[in-house]
């Protein structure tokens, strides 16, 4: 989780990622940030994030992102 928070902070600083639950709906992450984020997460966590996973439910909070990462790691 710490690694994820660091990536988010690096991509778009100044947001309280530990608590924010409206990263997409609140327009904190735009489509360009998402493109960066996906590329970074894949590299860092050795996962493949298919386009179908790019939905607000998976990107609205750090917790949701973390759940998606873990799920994709388990699915291999």
């Amino acid at each position: 989780m710490e690694r994820l928070l660091a990536i988010l902070e690096d991509i778009q600083p100044g947001v309280n990622y530990a608590e924010c639950e409206t990263l997409i709906d609140g327009h904190y992450l735009d489509s360009l940030s998402i493109i960066s984020l996906v590329a970074e997460l894949e590299e860092e966590f050795d996962i493949t994030i298919p386009a179908v996973e790019i939905v607000p439910e998976n990107f609205n909070s750090a917790k949701a992102l973390w759940n998606m990462i873990q799920r994709l790691q388990e699915e291999g």
Binding site: D10, I11, S33, I35, S36, A39, I49, I54
Partner: protein, 544 residues
């Protein structure tokens, strides 16, 4: 065309508009009546039969395209489903370390099926819609290069709505491939999703997961749904026949004979056309969504007060929403999320930073989206120009974003202040109007010439009562259009604030409700632009 000849021959354009007398006065009421008396279990089959009858009436034998498209996509879905089932069994039985490889093998098989299905469906659309355009341009190029070859330009009869139902078919097979939905084994359910008559001509472009089940489970018509649905149809009718049709003579005359008019009048025509397009298309969507509401089915909205947008990018999230969402899900993200693009994003981000790094992949994907968006609207250079115009605007918005923020800071501009927001809305609307000028112009050359005249010859000297009467408009027309637009603006402001007008109205006392309803019907009957002297605008999006 009489109803009997329509029934025999099909292919009557009289019903392409959901506001035509034949549709609103005969087809829809008859359909609702038979639907009401049909046994509950058979209602969905009746709806399917009514949908194919409707399509037959407007397209004749071309209905075969819809049927074949449905059959083929149904088969591809089943094929994918079979691979997915085989994969699940094989993965379950395999050792953990072999599962990843096994999944990849099945993924490759699925990708081939998906590719085959997409090429087939989009290929048919490309052949019917674009082959004359491409061959004409190839011939021009060959002539320029002095190569003595001339290709025959093919002409095909194209069924109405093909651009809409093809996108629905492709989204269905994509979603099965991605696993967001299971393939439908019931051909009739899929056929109803593909061909539901209120949406077949102009959309909205629905996703299987959104509407198929609701359409298949239609029930008895509820009074509340009937009332709310009819009110919505009435609202759409007002937009169409009071505003869109009333502006039509002016727009037709000026766009057809633009060389005769000065820049100021061309600018008015561009503004009128933007209003007409919005009133026609969003009005049709009101009728479509209202009709589905009567059957208890909620179709996705296609418009969300687009002229309140503060940027072009936001405008496209509020205008023709289902088309934008289709391009985002099936073109933008698949392109940006492709392996080469991801590698490029990672490398670029480290070199040129967080903002510009992902912009490269974003720009490539945006280019693909907007070339497709332009071409989707029609096979002409003016549509490609229209797509590229919006591509450049959105991309520049992204590139200039850090500079804009810097300027706001330096000049102490607070972007959230009402006056600045209003300025942004006006700016966006002006940019939209320029785009629509090229969209409507009779060819790219005409569009460029009109735009140049607006910039260099912006005068209104010939604009007087004589000219207006020549353009079959008078002050009364302008007054009626103005009043109706004010009404639509008020409704839009209320909707923007989250106020549900129809639900609010239903809570008022009976006398008030009926008074409003009668006044509204009278307003449409008295001020609707129909009869001699008016040529109703053809449903604009039906041709795309």
């Amino acid at each position: 065309m009489s109803l009997s000849s329509l029934l025999l021959a099909g292919r009557g354009t009289d019903m392409t508009s959901y506001f035509s007398l034949l549709y609103l006065g005969a087809f829809l009421p008859l359909c609702l009546l038979i639907y009401s008396i049909f046994p509950r279990r058979g209602k969905k089959y009746f709806l399917l039969a009514a949908s194919y009858t409707f399509f037959w009436l407007i397209s004749g034998k071309l209905v075969v395209y819809l049927a074949l498209s449905t059959l083929s996509i149904h088969y591809f879905g089943i094929w994918l489903d079979r691979i997915q089932k085989e994969r699940d069994i094989a993965v379950k039985a395999a050792e953990k370390e072999n599962r990843k490889e096994l999944k990849r093998t099945y993924q490759k098989q699925q990708r081939l099926v998906l590719l085959f299905a997409a090429i087939l469906h989009i290929g048919v659309l490309l052949t019917l819609k674009y082959s004359p355009f491409f061959t004409t341009n190839i011939n021009t190029l060959l002539a320029h290069l002095h190569i003595p070859i001339h290709l025959a330009v093919p002409r095909f009869l194209m069924p109405i709505g093909i651009s809409f139902f093809t996108l629905q078919a492709v989204s269905y097979i994509f979603d099965v491939y991605r696993g967001t939905i299971r393939a439908d084994s019931n051909l009739f359910r899929l056929a109803l999703f593909m061909g539901f008559f209120p949406q077949i001509v102009e959309g909205p472009i629905c996703r299987y997961g959104e509407t198929a089940e609701a359409l298949w489970n239609v029930k008895t018509i509820q009074f509340t749904n009937l009332k709310l649905g009819l009110q919505r149809i009435l609202y759409g009718l007002m937009k169409k026949i009071v505003v869109a049709d009333r502006l039509n003579p002016f727009i037709q005359e000026v766009f057809s004979n633009y060389a005769k008019y000065e820049g100021g009048i061309l600018a008015i025509a561009a503004v009128f056309y933007t209003i007409q397009l919005y009133m026609d298309f969003s009005g049709t969507m009101d009728a479509v969504i209202g009709t589905a509401e009567i059957f208890g089915v909620k179709l996705p909205e296609n418009f969300r007060q687009p002229f309140f947008s503060r940027s072009i990018s936001e405008f496209w999230k509020r205008w023709h929403i289902t088309l934008g969402a289709w391009f985002k899900d099936y073109i933008f993200y698949p392109v940006t999320m492709s392996k080469p693009m991801k590698t490029m994003t990672s490398a670029a981000r480290k070199k040129i930073g967080n903002h510009f790094g992902p912009l490269l992949a974003g720009a490539v994907a945006l280019f693909c989206v907007w070339i497709c968006n332009g071409l989707w609207h029609g096979s002409a250079w003016s549509y490609i120009f229209f797509g590229m115009y919006h591509f450049v605007l959105i991309l520049s918005g992204n590139i200039l974003d850090p500079a804009a923020k810097w300027i706001h800071k330096k000049l102490h501009i607070q972007p959230e202040r009402p006056l600045y927001r209003f300025f942004q809305m006006v700016r966006t609307t002006l940019l939209v109007i320029i785009g629509e000028l090229f969209f409507r112009a009779e060819g790219l050359r005409a569009g460029l010439s009109m735009f140049q005249k607006i910039l260099t010859d912006f005068r209104f000297t010939t604009l007087n009562g004589d000219l207006l009467s020549k353009l079959r408009m008078d002050q009364f027309d302008l007054f009626i259009v103005g009043i109706t637009l004010l009404l639509v603006l008020t409704v839009s402001i209320l909707k923007e604030q989250g106020i549900r007008i129809r639900e609010g109205l239903s809570k008022k006392n009976t006398a008030f409700r009926w008074a409003v309803l009668y006044a509204w019907i009278l307003f449409i009957v008295i001020f609707g632009a129909y009869g001699p002297g008016y040529i109703p605008v053809d449903p604009i999006y039906a041709n795309f």
